[in-house]
Assembly symmetry: C2
């Protein structure tokens, strides 16, 4: 919040998005949760970018505070913890997928299959719905224990 009591983004939607996405590690954690089905501290730590433990703890707290993740005990093992995406995070999927399509177009060493951009071009809503279904599948399986 600013001294006037207004939030840092001050009403600008781009700045609101920048507060969450305009940070490399938050952005990649969002990817891990929305696209790669990761939910635990250990899984995040294992990502190839190599986030360090203090930064990971800091960003998980930030994303929880921003209402993107919920922190819950792991149903499979009480001593462990899961971070689940909230509806707000899931609603970010279209933006994330749109960025992936753009990146796939301009990155000449992309690992994304050509079929990804093609399937998005053919049916954007369907492509996003597929990712949403994957997220729900992961979370429902996890919560069942």
């Amino acid at each position: 919040m600013t001294s006037a009591g207004k939030p840092d983004w001050n009403g600008c939607p781009t700045r609101y998005a920048a507060a969450i996405v305009g940070d490399k590690w938050c952005f990649l954690l969002l990817r891990d949760v929305l696209l790669h089905g990761k939910r635990t501290y250990r899984e995040f730590l294992a990502s190839p970018e190599g986030i360090s433990t203090n930064i990971l703890a800091n960003r998980l707290a930030k994303l929880e505070a921003l209402g993107m993740f919920t922190r819950e005990p792991d149903p499979r093992k009480a001593s462990s913890v899961c971070y689940f995406p909230t509806q707000k995070a899931k609603d970010f999927l279209p933006a994330l997928v749109t960025m992936m399509v753009w990146a796939t177009q301009y990155d000449d060493v992309t690992e994304a299959p050509a079929s990804f951009a093609a399937s998005y071009a053919d049916d954007p809503a369907g492509t996003i719905a597929w990712y949403e279904a994957e997220i729900d599948r992961v979370d429902q399986a996890l919560r069942r224990g």
Copy 2:
């Protein structure tokens, strides 16, 4: 580049996007150019976020190196400089607009008019086309001098 000669994003489209967008200042400069018609150092400096001069110079160089901006003499005044968005930057517009729609939905103090989200919901392609036309209008007027 990594020691193996592969780029930092290493083929991951999200990481490719993160290299550009996963930085508050690059993200906001992209907004200024794509959405607010800003093209000069002075205009960027005047944004309410208050970027400092060294960071601005650093990020303009970065965005130029990444192929997002071109640096050209100002046709109105030879001593001044303009930064124009490349096609790559313009193609990022759908992602930026998608993020704005998301932010407008979740930011309860948004300054974005309700008509923005409504018009996007009604005609996404048309909304993006409108922004694209604005960019071209600004750039063509500028280059005419």
